[in-house]
């Protein structure tokens, strides 16, 4: 065995795949689901406030596309999440992520 082969063998032993903690899967799926919920909620509020004005009737169509994508992304992932008990508190990073994405979505909807 050459030195290079020996190093490669050691690298295979050393860099084994690392299983993500169960809590991360829960947190991630919750984060993505909250993102979905935020998009749907945002869309609903916006639609209610604007649909009375015919000048805005073209805009919900675009919003539906944006919201629809966000709302649908994790249907299958959520099925797993719903089997588990929801934890009461979210972590700061998650909240920040969701806020950022929701903020971005809000900007797009208001254009």
């Amino acid at each position: 065995m050459t030195d290079a082969e020996r190093v490669e063998r050691l690298l295979r032993m050393a860099l084994t795949p690392v299983e993500p903690p169960e809590a991360l899967s829960d947190r991630l799926e919750r984060g993505l689901s909250e993102l979905t919920d935020a998009a749907v909620e945002e869309l609903s509020e916006w639609e209610l406030s604007t649909m009375r004005d015919p000048r805005n009737w073209a805009r919900p169509a675009a919003a539906v596309v944006v919201g629809g994508l966000a709302a649908g992304g994790l249907v299958l992932v959520r099925a797993r999440q719903q089997q588990r008990k929801r934890q009461a508190s979210g972590l700061k990073a998650l909240e920040r992520s969701v806020r950022e994405v929701a903020g971005d979505l809000e900007k797009r909807l208001r254009r």
Binding site: A4, L11, T16, P17, V18, G72, G73, L74
Partner: protein
């Protein structure tokens, strides 16, 4: 109706991507950053960002696998992580690698010191070399995938990996 079908297909594809590559992204993040806490944050950010851009990525992928794209997102976020916080990995890689390795033979016990030395060597490599090795050995990516993830040519990637292994080899023989 057609839009709905497209969306349902997109949903399925994203869920599949998530399930297929959660471990890849987490492994990459862990070996790149060196601690579980930040690896979790990085993994989370990677999937949230992927979610936002998935439709476009899928459209532009022309049917190619999306794992390199996903790892590239993690790669960019990791770069921001270091830039923002002026940090280098505080490597405790031996915790993950040795504890998670399903080996228990005497040979493996004897090899632990060597594994530790290699891990220490990996943590001292320049970022691009370290990343290439993580992708190759922890994620089992081939040169083409690594090249796409790192935004390099396949030739340059092959050279990069060769040099990384050579550097490790020299480091081990010095010890």
């Amino acid at each position: 109706m057609e839009q709905l079908q497209d969306k349902q297909r997109l949903d399925r594809d994203f869920a599949e991507l998530y399930r297929a590559h959660l471990r890849d992204v987490y492994s990459y993040a862990y070996y790149r950053i060196g601690n579980h806490h930040d690896a979790e944050d990085l993994t989370e950010q990677t999937f949230l960002q992927a979610y936002r851009h998935f439709e476009r990525a899928q459209r532009e992928s022309n049917g190619r696998p999306l794992r390199p794209w996903l790892i590239r997102i993690a790669h960019n976020l990791a770069a921001n992580y270091y830039r923002d916080r002026s940090r280098r990995p505080i490597t405790q890689l031996e915790d993950a690698a040795i504890l998670s390795a399903p080996h228990a033979t005497e040979d493996m016990v004897e090899g632990r010191e060597e594994v530790k030395e290699v891990l220490a060597g990996v943590s001292k490599l320049p970022d691009d070399r370290r990343e290439a090795l993580i992708m190759r050995f922890a994620l089992d990516m081939d040169n083409r995938e690594i090249a796409r993830a790192m935004g390099r040519s396949e030739g340059a990637t092959k050279v990069l990996i060769h040099r990384a292994i050579k550097q490790l080899e020299e480091g081990l023989s010095d010890d």
